[in-house]
Symmetry: C2
């Protein structure tokens, strides 16, 4: 088995255990909601549908791995705690879909669309009602997310430290989101602004937060925490670049959404920024016209792809991605962690940016 | 000084200390946001404007009082921790205003309206942009809210226990909110449904959560926590009834919003439910027509008031309110807490439902 297969099998093993605990946690929330009101149960069931309906569980896997890198084993307690990242993810995505007015997520109705359809004909304004229910569903998730960690048997000191980190990281995601909705409206956007979104929305949230929150529960030293941070930031930025490239050049099956959705949203990715910088006058005019146009055609999409390739913007992004992955792996070389965990994290860095989906 | 003046002066003393800490906490968040991006600072400044712009600080005062009832003193640590309830309150209200599409809060622009106005002409859809920014501002508040408590010097065990309670209570507020938007659309509503909203949105959140979260930090026994719960639930329900009565019969100055806004929203209060039950056929038809009509007239408002009085619905609500206050005060009679704290809580029960604003 080569490293990439081994990484995949380790992820699979963790994913299965995480899915079992996640389902159990949601079942617990549902039985509490039953003592309140049928409308509360309906809300938890939607959170359940959304959370169990898909997702690669990368964040909980990394939290478990942060723990294992010190403790050497992983048990039910850490798996249970790690589910917090999936509930946080549901909270963020459910709200995201309201803000972006996305109708589909993993080829299913988004939460607001689901409630909108379900209550059509029964309420005065189904769309607004659906949005309100989705805001509440997200809020509920945000409050339930950390309860499983609080209930684990880790020491109170470590739980407090881990919690403080999680809350801090999730707060910075909000800042990243603000930047993300601010950027498409801004007159001038720099490469730094875009990497910053990657840093807050992806690097800190998807990699650093999960890894550190698990390592803290195992009592990691400050020097290990620092090494994990130096691994996480470039890897997260690489991951974001990968996402942007896939968002334009992937297939709908690979990315779980239409391939023109980033363009229609007017998302200013590094890919688009570089292409704009290097474009001829007529190419730049086309980019300005197409970017953010909700009615762009198949031909427009193909033209943008062509510009991104011919200006070398795709190559530039791919090269940056490769450099960032090397930087990430370098940070772990001297970290005093379990060899298996190190092998996994080095392999995962390659896997996460080479992955097709 | 009679008891009601004494209660007011104790509240005032606490409120001043809370306001100082709250401003300091927000200043800290702002300086962190400065290291991120100007758009992050803008977001924290809106949270600051909203949070410091008004509010009676009842929840933090009760958290301090829960602590003092055991510890006998109150210090900077508990005052700082207690600010969590104001940040949670901002989180909930900012989202509420999006869901209710309220334009005014304490006679100032709500958060979504503020962003909508500020970005008009600069973004494609100012209203949707304002709503998105408000969703993010609320989310940010929800994540920042508990950080000050985590950073206090209380023991990790007590902080974990207090935190778990806070998160659990705030989650039940979401359930109360679901009920609250569900009720106006429901075909059949019972007194029990309405009292349940009062229980989750007001009693547990406004009284029980704050009192218990403070008492836990002081190491309160289970029997004291139980007495506080038995005090909180009826008092919160009484408080809700008071709110509903004021919402119809108060002046705009007293309630901080137009007196017809509950009616326009179609809010099914106990007052309205009882009036509907006891109304003549023509009165019932009028109530059905007026309730939830965003264009109702001054005459409609006066007619609803007349029905609520003539059917005895107002008297019924006021009597229930009085009974609930007595029940609340009764629960504290044998509680082993500091005499001054007991005197305050008994006086506060009267004060909170007799208050004009």
């Amino acid at each position: 088995m080569d490293d990439s297969d081994w990484v995949k099998s380790v992820m699979e093993e963790h994913r299965n255990k995480i899915n079992i605990q996640l389902a159990d946690i949601l079942k617990g929330f549902k039985s509490e909601a039953q003592s309140i009101h049928p409308s509360a149960v309906e809300m938890v069931e939607e959170v359940e549908r959304f959370t169990l309906g898909g997702g690669k569980r990368i964040r909980p896997i990394l939290m478990c791995m942060g723990y294992e890198s010190i403790a050497g084993t992983f048990d039910e307690q850490i798996v249970r705690a790690s589910c917090l990242w999936e509930l946080v993810q549901s909270f963020l995505l459910i709200h995201d879909d309201v803000m972006d007015r996305s109708k589909l997520r993993r080829w299913n109705d988004t939460t607001y669309v689901k409630f909108q359809k379900q209550y059509a004909g029964r309420v005065r304004e189904p769309e607004h009602f659906g949005q309100s229910m989705a805001i509440l569903a997200g809020d509920l998730c945000s409050q339930l997310a950390l309860l499983p960690l609080l209930q684990t048997s880790f020491s109170a000191e470590r739980k407090i430290q881990s919690l403080a980190l999680c809350m801090d990281i999730v707060a910075t995601v909000s800042y990243g989101q603000v930047l993300d909705i601010w950027i498409p409206e801004a007159e001038e956007v720099h490469e730094e602004d875009i990497l910053r979104v990657g840093q807050y929305k992806t690097a800190r949230y998807t990699i650093e937060g999960p890894l550190l929150s698990g390592a803290i529960l195992a009592g990691a030293s400050q020097s290990i925490l620092n090494a994990f941070s130096r691994y996480s930031i470039p890897l997260g930025q690489a991951f974001q670049l990968k996402d942007d490239i896939m968002g334009l050049f992937g297939t709908p099956e690979e990315i779980g959404k239409p391939v023109d959705s980033d363009l229609k949203e007017g998302k200013k990715t590094l890919l688009i920024l570089k292409a704009t910088e290097r474009a001829s006058e007529s190419q730049a005019a086309a980019l300005r016209r197409i970017l953010g146009d909700p009615n762009l055609t198949e031909k427009d999409l193909e033209y943008v792809k062509e510009i991104v390739v011919s200006t070398g913007a795709r190559e530039y992004s791919e090269r940056r991605m490769g450099e960032l992955v090397l930087e990430a792996k370098d940070a772990l070389q001297n970290a005093q962690i379990r060899p298996d965990a190190k092998r996994f994290l080095l392999g995962a860095a390659d896997y996460m940016v080479l992955r097709k989906t």
